[in-house]
Structure formats: C-alpha cells, structure tokens
C-alpha cells in the first residue's frame, strides 16, 4: 500500500485580532486507492483540512506531501495546475456554472487542460456522465436538474481530468437518504478504481461504507480506525 497524500503536523491558523486555529497538528497519511470518511462536529476543521490537502489553502506550519513530494514551495500557478491535473473537488452544494449545460460544465476542466482533442473531450465527458447515469441530462442546464443529479454532474466534472484524488466536502449534505447512498456508492467505486477518495460526512451510516473513518474535534484527529503508519510512509520515501 503506497501513501499518496500525507499531512505532516499540518496546522492552519487564521490570522486576525483573535487568531482562529482551524487545523492543529494533523498527521494523516492517505493510501492510494483508499476511501476515507472524515467526520466531526460542526466547526471542527473538516473543510479546512480538505482545503489544505487539496492545494486550495496553504498551511501555517507543517506540510502536505504529494506522492512523497513537498508542496510548500509551489507557487499559485503550480498549485492551480495540480488542482487541475490531480485533484477533483465535490462540494456540499453542486457548484456548477449556471450558464453552462451539464456537458459544458464537465468539459470545463478538460478544455483548460487541453490534453484531448475536442471530439475526444466530448466523448470522454459523455462517457463520464453515462457512467453516473446522467447521459440523458448532458444538454440540460443545472437549474433543470434535481439535487441528486446536480451532485452527480459535479462528480462527473471532478472526474473530468482523471484525477488521482477526489476530495468531497459533505457531498451528500443537500441530498435525501437514497441519493446520498448513491453518491457514496459512486465514491466507493472510484476508490476501487484506484483513486484516493476523502469524503467529509456527518452521516455515520455513510461513513461506515468507507474503508476508514477519521474523526476531528477542534482541528485535531481524535479517532482513526485504520491509521496509515508512519513507517509505511518512511518506507515509501526511503528508496
């Protein structure tokens, strides 16, 4: 088992008159192809941790290793590039661009990356939507979709550039039980394909379907039922 993403003593403090500690000394390794559920009370720093892991935010101290490589020295452009190529985000609200059809939303990251020909992009986007049972909605605007459909469209967009990491922040928060279970099943399937999936959820039932459960309180890890050991990580980095 290889450690794809590693938080090392990760700390994020929001500066201000009263500094707020969002994440406090988190050490967590995420194995490639694993599905981790993160839970914890509101305000415990789950989202903040996800932003740090996903190159959206920079830690105050500590660091994030991506495939063993430090990321602290990367500039904004390089981090944007990493998000484009390696990470797929799914948020609680679907965050689709309202003027664009579902298909165009899914095409957006591909067009930015521009690794495929336009017809190949379309074919890939349609294949992703089909796999999520969204093929019939490709031409619709986000406003014309149900909540579950929007979230699946958002997942399709997150998968557009075939990312190694899927970071989902309460992706089921706005969904009913049936749709929530479906979304988690999809995330689980993505992990089976070899992607590293990290999902924040309040729902213990859904968390139970993941490979591993991590619990945060006040920005700290208070429980982790399948920790990736430090030694595994060191082994990885040694040769």
């Amino acid at each position: 088992m290889s450690v794809a993403l590693q938080a090392v003593d990760l700390t994020r403090v929001l500066p201000g008159p009263v500094p707020t500690t969002l994440v406090a000394g988190v050490d967590l390794g995420f194995a490639a192809g694993s599905f981790t559920a993160i839970s914890g009370p509101s305000g415990s720093g789950k989202s903040s941790l996800l932003y740090l892991l996903g190159m959206l935010d920079r830690p105050t101290s500590g660091e994030v290793l991506l495939s063993g490589q430090p990321t602290a020295s990367l500039d904004d452009e390089q981090r944007a590039r990493l998000r484009l190529e390696r990470f797929g985000f799914v948020f609680q609200f679907h965050f689709l661009l309202p003027e664009f059809s579902v298909l165009d939303n899914v095409l957006l990251p591909m067009r930015k990356l521009a690794r495929r020909s336009p017809p190949a992009m379309r074919a890939h986007a349609l294949a992703l939507l089909d796999a999520l049972d969204m093929g019939a909605c490709a031409g619709k605007l986000p406003a014309a979709l149900s909540g579950g459909q929007r979230q699946r469209a958002a997942i399709a967009r997150a998968l557009a550039n075939d990312p190694a990491f899927i970071l989902a922040d309460e992706p089921t928060g706005a969904l009913d039980t049936r749709n929530a279970a479906a979304v988690f099943a999809i995330l689980s399937g993505l992990a089976r394909q070899g992607r590293t999936v990290i999902a924040v959820t309040h729902d213990q039932g859904l968390a139970a379907t993941a490979d591993r459960r991590v619990r945060l309180v006040d920005g700290r890890v208070v429980a982790d039922d399948a920790p990736v050991t430090e030694s595994a990580c060191v082994e990885r980095m040694a040769p």
């Binding site: 959206l56 452009e77 309202p98 990251p109 930015k112």
Partner: protein
C-alpha cells in the same frame, strides 16, 4: 472549439443582454461620433490646407532680414563681453538685393521652382470709384511654374501678361464690382504718383474672397514703373515638387541668402495653431464620449465580477489560474469593445454619408457639399481608442476578480 475564456465571457454577457447592449451602444456612439466629427474636421482642415498650398507659394522669400548683422565691435572681439543694444536689421532700400543671382541659385536646386515678384499697393479707378488692391508684378514665364492660378482663369489668361506690357489680370468678382470686363481699361494710381492705364487681359475666380477681390497681377516691369522702383523685387515665390520638405528647404535657403524665407507653415502658423486647438477640442470632446463608454464597461464588468464571485471561486478550485480569470473579464471588455467598434463604424459611416449630402456653408458654389474625410486611419484611430478604453475599463475589475481568494467564497458558501 472556442478558447475557454471567450466561451465563459460570452456566457456572462449573454446572461445580461440588456446591459451588454447598453455598453455596446455607448462604445458605438463614441466611435460613430468620433469618426463623423473627426472626418468632418479633417475634411474642413484638409480643404483649407490644400487651398493655402494651392493659392500660396510653398515658400515665400521676402526682403526682410530677421537677425541684425554682427556688429564690427563683436567681429573685432569674438567671445568678448560686448553688449550692443538697440540694433535693428538694416532696412535701407526695401527689396531683395541680388535677386537675379538668388533665382539662378534656386533654379539649380532640384525640385525647386522660383519666381520674382514686386508686391505693392495701388488704387484701381473705374467710373469714378476707387478700389484699393494689392498688385503683384510678376515675371510671367517664371510665375507660370509656381502658381496654380491658371486653373482658376475664367476668361483670358495669365500668360497674356507676357505679351501685353500694360496687361492686368484680376478677379472676376472685382471686375464685376467695377463694371469692367475683358479688354476694358482701368486706371491704376500708386503712392509713387502718376496714373497708369491697364488693360484687362484675364479674369480668375479662385473662390477665395481675399484673392478675388484684393489681388491683381501685372507684368513685373509695369509694376516696377508704377511703384517707381526700377529693377527691384521684394518677394520670391518658391514652389516645391515635394511640399513635405518645405520647412528644411526654407531654412536652407534662408541660411544661404540671408533674406527671411518662410515655409507656408510659418506664414500660416496662426491658421495651423487654430487647427491644432480645434483638433484638441474635437478629439477631446469625442474622446470623452468614449471615456464615458469606458465607465459603462467598467460598470458592467464590475457587476459581473461581484455577481460571479462564486463561479470565479469554482473555476479557481477546478484549477483555472488567476490569469485565466483575468483573461475572461478582459475578453468581456474586448467583446463589448469590438461589437461597439463594429456598430460605431456603421454609425460613423452613416453620419458621414449624411453630412456629405449637406451643402457646405459659406461656399461660393451652392452645389458644394460638406467635405467629410473617411480614411482607414480615422477608423483605425477610433477603433484603437475604443478598444484601449474597453481593455482599460475591464482591466481593473478583472484584476480584482483574480486577486480575491476563492476560499473566502467557498468557506462562506458551504
């Protein structure tokens, strides 16, 4: 497939068609007025310039000396602290001395034609009435090489002065006023005394009142005798093959011969400075319409940036870089600008065509229409200004869009 920033920019603009249309109309109006008014002014100024250039010598040498000659005391002690006050340039016998040699020298210069003239005042008498005129005594053969008057001759000819020693060529309107016609005799009196019978051998109509009413031509010898200044000329009129070289050529001529030699730009410096002021006011006024249009663009793009804060954050989280975001909003400004330029070019063309149908005020020929210049350069200038304004107006909000931290939006929304 369209470039990504263009796709997003068009989507933003199409989602607010009415506001976009208003911004485009603002730019179109600025561009249209710029083209129409600029063209009208260029037409007007161009007409005046060509009139000046056609009816006047390109370079005029007169019997004045700008700088007093160096004084003997200065020549004796070069570099010494000598102060001599109240020196005037020598002005004893007005006239260009050595005009013959100067003309020979000018003839040797390539692209230069020169003609000697004696300018003086006279009173023309006819049927008991007096008409004050400026008389130019000309050497016909040379004058024909520097003047455009021949094309304005309506009766007789300028060259008839060569064979008629007491010939007179004058404006048709002056002759009409005097009740004289071709072949008639008028009497000229000058301050030198004496009366001279002159026979009308040619009539011209330049359309310029000053010329038609105020200037008459006689043979040089006749004028010299009328003014009692034998063998004197006080002006040399010079015409250039290349008018663009008038300033350096005039300076070179003055340098060699000492007499004040003014290019037409100097003689008409006041007209040209009025043109410059006119340009400043016109382009300033029309440019400020574009500036207002720029505020319109600034306004719509700022609004979009504010309203699309969430979408911008999403695009950033997906992996679009700051400069992709800048590109989106610059393209929005550019799209408004380009549409405005296209529409404005149409408006400008339409306005210019309309104005070309309108009679030219003050023209002697009632069928003359307003001159409106339509040039690629004018459209290009209008387009360039409009696009620069549009880009400038889009630049500020697009910087702000790229600088806002997407996390602020994402944190607030989830």
């Amino acid at each position: 497939m369209m470039p990504l920033p263009l796709t997003i920019a068009l989507a933003h603009l199409l989602a607010r068609k009415r506001q976009t249309l208003v911004s485009v109309l603002g730019v179109a109006m600025g561009v249209g007025v710029f083209i129409a008014v600029g063209g009208l002014m260029q037409g007007f100024q161009g007409y005046f310039r060509s009139q000046i250039i056609e009816t006047n010598p390109h370079i005029l040498m007169t019997d004045e000396i700008r700088q007093p000659a160096p004084q003997p005391l200065q020549l004796l002690h070069p570099g010494a602290a000598v102060a001599i006050t109240r020196i005037l340039p020598r002005d004893p016998v007005r006239g260009i001395s050595g005009a013959g040699a100067i003309l020979t020298a000018l003839d040797a210069m390539p692209g230069v034609a020169a003609a000697p003239t004696l300018r003086g005042q006279a009173i023309l008498r006819r049927a008991g009435r007096d008409y004050a005129v400026t008389v130019l005594g000309i050497e016909v053969a040379r004058e024909l090489r520097v003047t455009n008057l021949t094309k304005d001759m309506v009766q007789g000819s300028l060259s008839a002065l060569a064979t008629q020693p007491n010939g007179l060529v004058l404006g048709l309107s002056l002759a009409t006023k005097m009740g004289a016609s071709l072949g008639d005799t008028v009497v000229a009196a000058t301050s030198a005394g004496g009366e001279h019978g002159l026979r009308i051998v040619g009539l011209f109509n330049t359309g310029l009142e000053q010329q038609d009413q105020g200037i008459v031509y006689v043979p040089l010898a006749q004028q010299q005798s009328m003014q009692a200044r034998p063998r004197v000329v006080n002006e040399i009129h010079i015409k250039l093959a290349d008018i663009a070289r008038s300033i350096p050529t005039a300076a070179a001529i003055e340098g060699s011969f000492g007499f004040k030699t003014a290019p037409w730009e100097e003689t008409y410096a006041r007209v040209l400075s009025v043109f410059r002021l006119q340009n400043l006011v016109t382009y300033g006024a029309t440019g400020s319409i574009l500036l207002v249009a720029g505020f319109g663009i600034f306004n719509i793009i700022s609004t979009i940036v504010l309203e699309k804060a969430r979408d911008i954050a999403i695009m950033r989280s997906i992996g679009l870089a700051g400069r992709d975001i800048v590109a989106v909003f610059l393209v929005e400004g550019l799209v408004v600008g380009v549409l405005g330029v296209l529409a404005g070019s149409g408006v400008g063309y339409g306005l210019a065509s309309l104005m070309r149908q309108m009679p030219s005020p003050g023209a002697t020929d009632p069928s003359q229409r307003l001159l409106v210049v339509q040039s690629v350069a004018l459209y290009g200038l209008a387009a360039g200004l409009a696009l620069a304004t549009a880009l400038g107006a889009a630049w500020i909000p697009s910087r702000r869009a790229a600088q806002t931290d997407p996390l602020d939006v994402i944190r607030g929304a989830t």
